[in-house]
Point group: C2
DNA sequence: CCTCATGGTGCACGACGTGCATCTGTGCAC
DNA sequence: GTGCACAGATGCACGTCGTGCACCATGAGG
């Protein structure tokens, strides 16, 4: 249910001064965004808006897509991505091999599709944030909302992330999925700014950096998960994210050693 | 060589206050780094140190590797990556098809290998920067040195970059090559800092962000090249880079609209 | 000159990915 | 309800990719 977790003092960003949005920086109570993750539409994969069903046809398609994605992930978790053939995936999803390619163009794409959906949801969530929040603040809240949902709603989701993280052959595909959202997020960021700022490098840079930051925070969190075996707390993930965003807000330069 | 170009007032970063390195922030005159790009060693591809020839064997290997890389790039430029088969590449490089896989594991990897080498050189260059420079300052100078060499020394290099930029199927491979350098660069950055800072997220974040920033600056520059057709000036590239680094130094947050 | 190690090559084979023709079920108009 | 038009699923064929294995050729070292 997208519960916003209790957790430690929601410190927000230690933004060193730039931002000074309205007091309680948390989510405005009525602003539940919801996003409906399910979407992923169909053919194009760019993330069209038509989530609502035109009818049974659309529903079946999204169901098939989800079935393939889940089958691919399930098999990848069990046997390792490299050791799974598309034929097996097709069998597991109960479709013809040929049909697989109507939905995904490669095994890797199917396995990563879940995570790619999260990025999509992240951007959507960001768009829905109240305009009073600073850019990084809104990015933070959007990220937390998506990650919260991803980690709590679905236990398999965590296993999926761990597989993606550990399997080397998935890295390119994952990064590509991430990069695919850069432009969309950049537009969303630009929409929050005055024309002057919107026309600069800033939106693009901020979008790319924010997505990279999420990747890093998540990676470090998952690294902890991989080490200890136990599922780390959501609070840890939040602090990782805040650390990253704090650095980005404060500026990345560091003086050299005078000597 | 590696002439440092005349160009407009080498303004360095407008770092808003954090950094305050020694006066003339430019390259210390005697500190030519040199890096010897040629390297790329051989098998592992991780960038081992043994550039020097153990003998004819090593030399032949690097020559073969370069021949394959150049052949792949040449054909990709001429016919488009998708329309080139490995058989053609092998023929162009005058090797057996089977031999191709002794050097690269895919067509895309071969085409991108040139750019990947640049990233490697970038990290090496950064390591060699004087410790007096701030982190972003050193990153800037390293980037300029590599880009300068890449753009001026070799006219084909620019064509290569344009192909990589335009071909969608190369994106994942390119990003993967970039990501492969993140950890190395992060270590190099950490080596410049006190233990406390070195142990934080900062090095990793800064490394990832810097590489992403280079990608963005280069992308925008190449976009200009693609539009106008003409080869844009190196000064433009430098200003793109400075804009990016300036933003990163100043911090990425932007206040929300109060209303 | 002999021997060893390393890299190049040919071969076989399974997996990947796509174009094309066909079949089936849905959406829709009547 | 009936029938038409089309989107999507499937089967088939074909070319490319990528790898394991065995063998040959050449440089390194004695």
């Amino acid at each position: 249910m997208t519960g916003s977790h209790p957790g430690p003092p929601a410190g927000g960003l230690r933004t060193t001064g730039v931002q000074d949005g309205p007091a309680g920086a948390g989510v405005a109570p009525g602003t539940q965004v919801a996003v409906t993750v399910v979407g992923r539409t169909s053919g194009d994969g760019t993330g069209g808006t038509g989530t609502s069903s035109t009818g049974r046809r659309e529903r079946k398609k999204t169901a098939t897509r989800a079935a393939i994605r889940d089958a691919a992930m399930r098999l990848a978790v069990r046997h390792g991505v490299e050791n799974v053939t598309l034929e097996q995936v097709a069998a597991e999803a109960d479709i013809a091999l040929r049909t697989f390619f109507n939905y995904f163009s490669s095994k890797e794409e199917a396995v990563v599709a879940g995570a790619a959906g999260d990025f999509l949801a992240f951007v959507a969530e960001f768009r829905a944030r109240p305009r009073g929040e600073s850019v990084l603040q809104a990015l933070r809240e959007a990220a937390l909302a998506v990650l919260d949902r991803a980690v709590t709603d679905d236990r398999d989701h965590l296993a999926a992330l761990l597989v993606i993280r550990s399997e080397r052959s998935l890295v390119p595909q994952l990064l590509a999925a991430l990069a695919a959202q850069e432009d969309v997020l950049a537009d969303a960021i630009a929409a929050r700014l005055e024309p002057a700022a919107a026309a600069s490098v800033y939106p693009r840079l901020c979008a790319t950096t924010a997505l990279a930051g999420m990747r890093i925070a998540l990676d470090r969190w998952l690294a902890g998960a991989a080490d200890t075996g136990a599922v780390p707390s959501f609070a840890v993930l939040r602090s990782e994210l805040d650390a990253v965003l704090g650095e980005l807000a404060a500026g990345l330069d560091r003086p050299g050693t005078p000597g």
